[in-house]
Amino acid sequence: MLTDWRFWFSVPAVLALGVVVLFPTGFLFWMSVSHWILTEPGVYFYGFQNFATLLNSSAFHSAAWVTVSYLVLSTTIMLGLGFAFALALSRPGSPGYLRALIVMPLVIPPVVAGFTWRFLLNGEIGFLGAYLLPAIGLETNLLASPVGALFSIVIADVWSRTPFMFLIFLAALQSIPRDYYEAIRLDGAKRFQEFWLVTLPMMKGAVSVAILFRIIDALNTFELIYVMTKGGPGRATQTFSLLGWKIAFQGFDFGGAAALGVVMVFATTIVALIVFRRFMRSA
């Protein structure tokens, strides 16, 4: 291989990839087994102590619970809504401005989206939280109740990220050949059977891609939550990414934060593999 001159052309690319991908990842793993905490000067090998501390902390357990709830809830709603919008707007002749309208939130930065929803849902002065919801008999202050705050985050996140699902699904729907629908119509299918027997199976690949993107996206959600609830009330909306931020920038424990990062890498990989196997292989 080394004597093949063509091999050498790949060397710069491999090196660049190594620096860009492997080095930071390796660095993360190294940090996770290091005692590196600002308040106790001195960086040294710490074994799996960071992991032990992390996994034993109640903050980790509550963050795991919050992250999973948030992930499942937001993903379900987003997939459903994104799919529904895509279905409604995938037919030829559906108005383009509606598609543009749905996609719009995507270009609004999470921080701005978070602030907007925070003010909308605010229980004292917010248009939704203080006027609209009470008017229809919902007196609870969403942002200040533990379950309500999680729902608020989900609402804002759904608002902000559903367009992405919508785009994936729209592209996939539009690439399903019309023949399939005509064939099954001739075979006597009703609307829901068309959907169930053609659309849904044909969308498997797109759905799994969307779920994968969503999982990664949800684990990365930080700004939105930080701005809306700061992870509260209490720890009610403190996800892994907020916990990571707290460990790193409130506790100044970089080793501990890296340990959480490593745990998240593994968790994401496992979930991604499951999704991949469940959907992609048969699609």
């Binding site: 000067p41 720890r235 100044f252």
Partner: protein, 458 residues
Amino acid sequence: MGNISKKIVRLTAAVGLLSATALPTFAATEINVIGFGAGFAWSDLFGASGTEKTQKLLDFEAKYDIVINMEFADEEVARQKVLLDLVNGTGNYDLVMLGSDGAVQTFSAAGYLEPLDDYLSSATDVFDASKVYQPFLEANTVNGKLWGLPYYSFGAGVVYRKDIFDKYGITSFPETTEGLEQALQTIKEGLAADGMDDVYPLTMRGAPGEEPSLDLSGFVYAYAGYPAWFEGGPTTPDEIKEKKAQPIFNGDFKPGFETFVRWSRDYGPPGIATHTWVDMMNLYAQGKAVVLMPSAINAFAGIPGSEVPEVKEHSAFAPSPVGPSGKAVQSFWTFSIGVSAFSENKDAAYKALAFLTSEPVLRDFANSFGWPYTTYPEIMNSPTLTERWPAEMLSQIEASFSEADPHYFPYIPELVEFMDQIGTAASSSIAGTTSVDESLDDLQSWASERMTRAGYYK
């Protein structure tokens, strides 16, 4: 994944980038500062945009042959940049922002800051420490050394709606927490009877994280009579280690914590468990809260922009009420700036720091915002403020400085983390997720574990 690894990537990348860009400087010494709140902080030097240089700044630069490069960013971004710069020891920023509720304690312990005591005499023409309210210097003193000079700073107090107090027959503001609680109850009942269900007797802050901790610690201090975090009330690492003082969050810490939570729940707005100083300020400014405490500054920040005439006309100041211990509820904070231990031009950096916190600069700040808070008695008692505020009020505020105990919470390196945990526990209890006892038991066990892990009880 996620946020952490992103930051780590940024961190490692920063090591490379910064060392490459640290060019030698010629002629004028360049001093780099990063700040937040362009148009708020130092607007008299860098203008409303934060990018221009006023004549006053240019004069200083010419006189001392120093160029001050100010970089403004979002608060969170700025704080993280400072942290990464310090952790890497790059010295990209000569001056770093601090706060007396954690950063001063943590960064000084980590060896990231230059003690300023020896520099104080080097530029007395610019900054004279003896002319500053001493508690603001004390607040920046850890282990007997001064680590930062104060800029925007405040003490405890109450701003309230005198018209509403009068309406419900309370003619003078209560001097004790007990009296205030009665007053809040009276007001609550009065508001309810008048059908004013969107006005709340009290506004405080209860968001998770460090947000409520400053004010909450003030309640703890007022109820316990000392910084009741550890047995016997030690406030330095050495004292804690020496006495092996265990945390007492479910002990003497409790009465103040419990009161803060109860008041928030009973008299505060429904969303208080996620409220930050911004919400606290807005609610008051919009006339939806009767009492704002104990960080009265947040009311003064909100009043000028208020569109509710009653807020502007009938807001009054009162000294922070005294708790059962005889000590007043505290809320004392300074936004201060320190010299990075990694700065290559510490003398010039100090001079720049001295200038940025000097009397003329602070006077301009007072002029442009008009808030009755400043670090210089000379400004407090000058027409800048006396023409705007009643003399009695200014002297009460002055008293809140002099009577304050800046160390009303322990000055330990882990302070930021403790503040975060305490605030989050309060938020939980206010929201009703956990009872006060559960929150404090959690806090207690977390603190024991944390202090043990940090080696305090070896």
